[in-house]
């Protein structure tokens, strides 16, 4: 009984491999694109926040407040269904934009935190050598901040990949979308949801290992 349902699960797992591979590819593209954009947004917002210009800080705060104050799924739906009145965003890019908009705020907070954790003597050393403010930020502060941010950024990237599952609700056939479709085709959701859980676990595991490796490598020079 247990054996037969295990065998059934095995068949489903193997049989759906090709399809999930396509879903994986979409999840992958989506995550990479959104996380790269989120990183740029995050860096930009972090710099606004540590600038001494009130209005810029205020803009950054507002952005972070909105993102942290509303569920990701609301953000994605507003971008996909809502903004069509103003301009129409293709599905893939609506997903990317929603995810990037969301992760961007968290990444901004991570970057801001690590920038501020860098000893202020570093800034002073840079300035005392005649470096401009921007040069000091770019060449001295940011490289150190990024290293220090690796664990948190890695964690945020993993969260981003899991969050990307929500784009299936605007119709994308990402990993989770494939699982939903297969479940509804066969009128049997459980094995497909378990299968997709395994895929996610596997991705997260790999990523965790990579992040740990990078962390170790960077620790070398600290």
């Amino acid at each position: 009984m247990l054996l037969s349902s295990l065998l059934e699960f095995y068949d489903i797992f193997v049989g759906s491999f090709d399809l999930f591979l396509e879903g994986l590819w979409i999840t992958f593209k989506l995550s990479i694109a959104s996380l790269l954009i989120a990183f740029v947004i995050g860096l930009f917002i972090a710099i606004l926040k540590i600038s001494n210009i009130k209005i810029l800080q205020w803009i950054a705060d507002l952005y972070i407040w909105i993102v942290r104050g509303t569920p990701l799924v609301v953000q994605i739906f507003i971008l996909f269904y809502g903004l069509t009145d103003i301009f129409l965003i293709p599905m893939f890019w609506a997903g990317v934009a929603g995810l990037a908009f969301h992760s961007g705020a968290y990444i901004a907070e991570i970057i801001r935190g690590t920038i501020q954790s860098i000893d202020k003597g570093q800034r002073e050393a840079g300035r005392s050598l005649g470096m401009t403010s921007g040069m000091t930020m770019r060449r001295i502060i940011l490289p150190q901040a990024f290293r220090r941010a690796v664990p948190s950024l890695g964690n945020q990237f993993i969260i981003g990949i899991k969050d990307s599952s929500l784009v299936s609700f605007i119709g994308m056939q990402d990993l989770f979308g494939v699982a939903s479709s297969m479940g509804s085709n066969t009128f049997n959701y459980l094995p497909y949801f378990i299968t997709v859980a395994i895929y996610y676990l596997f991705i997260v595991l790999i990523l965790t290992l990579i992040v740990n490796k990078i962390e170790k490598k960077l620790a070398r020079s600290d």
């Binding site: 090709d18 069509t84 009145d85 301009f87 129409l88 479940g183 009128f187 049997n188 959701y189």
Partner: protein, 250 residues
């Protein structure tokens, strides 16, 4: 309503395949849910089913290349209205509310909403539905039907999700299309038909600003009906001819 400029991603120099105002020149972008077996469901990364077959046949008749778009059912009418899709071949029942948003072609099949329950249920007809928990697909015409009996209406994103939860023991009943219910039963869900709630006409939704496309599709549909092609598609995907208007409609 959508502006012409925003609906055209490729700029619109009219081609010889038709001067409809299409999202992509020469291509007919049609939406379906992909979670409504046997009308539309995924086979590999492609949607298949009766809706899809009809959509593709129409595109061919119009001399256009069919482009299918999977979308959550609840967002499809809005998507057509706003120019995200040219048309929707997604088993939409014609309703007054939807008619305010989009144009409908002539029906391409006739069906009816049915009450499904688990076999051990004491619901035997619509009269027993009062105050029960009835799950339906979000954005479907079944929402307002269910509202006549109860205000306990869990709404999910596809009819199959609703049926699956019903079969697993959730909810008291699900209102969904007859044929979807039959397919579910064939696929092993243990549920039963406890009465039809009338007959509905399913049609293709077209953007309001695209009268020419509407007319062209109606023409194509009529041709397919006359030639028996539509009935053939129904036989192929559904197993019976559902393209004939029943004697009695409400």
């Amino acid at each position: 309503g959508s502006e012409e400029g925003s609906t055209n991603t490729d700029s619109g120099e009219a081609e010889a395949g038709g001067d409809y105002n299409l999202i992509k020149d020469g291509k007919l972008t049609f939406a379906a849910s992909g979670e409504f077996k046997p009308f539309s469901y995924m086979e590999g990364s492609e949607m298949v089913g009766y809706d899809i077959a009809v959509g593709e046949a129409i595109a061919e008749k119009l001399g256009l290349e069919p482009v299918q778009q999977k979308a959550k059912f609840s967002g499809i009418v809005t998507g057509v209205n706003e120019g995200r899709y040219d048309i929707a071949v997604a088993s939409h029942t014609i309703t007054d509310e939807r008619k305010e948003q989009v144009n409908f072609t002539e029906p391409y099949y006739y069906s009816g909403p049915v009450i499904y329950t688990r076999p051990d249920s004491d619901i035997t007809s619509a009269d027993d539905l009062n105050g029960k928990e009835i799950s339906v697909s979000r954005g479907s015409s079944y929402v307002s039907m269910a509202e006549e009996y109860t205000d306990n209406i869990p709404q999910v994103d596809s009819d199959v999700v609703a049926l699956q939860s019903l079969a697993s023991g959730h909810h008291d009943a699900v209102i969904t299309d007859d044929i979807t219910g039959i397919t579910a039963i064939e696929n092993g869900l243990v549920i039963e038909n406890r009465g039809q709630l009338g007959v509905s006409n399913q049609a293709i939704a077209v953007n309001k600003e695209n009268e020419e496309l509407l007319n062209a599709i109606d023409e194509a549909l009529q041709e397919m009906k006359d030639s028996g092609e539509l009935a053939e598609l129904a036989e192929k995907w559904i197993g019976e001819d559902i393209t004939e208007e029943p004697e009695t409609t409400e």
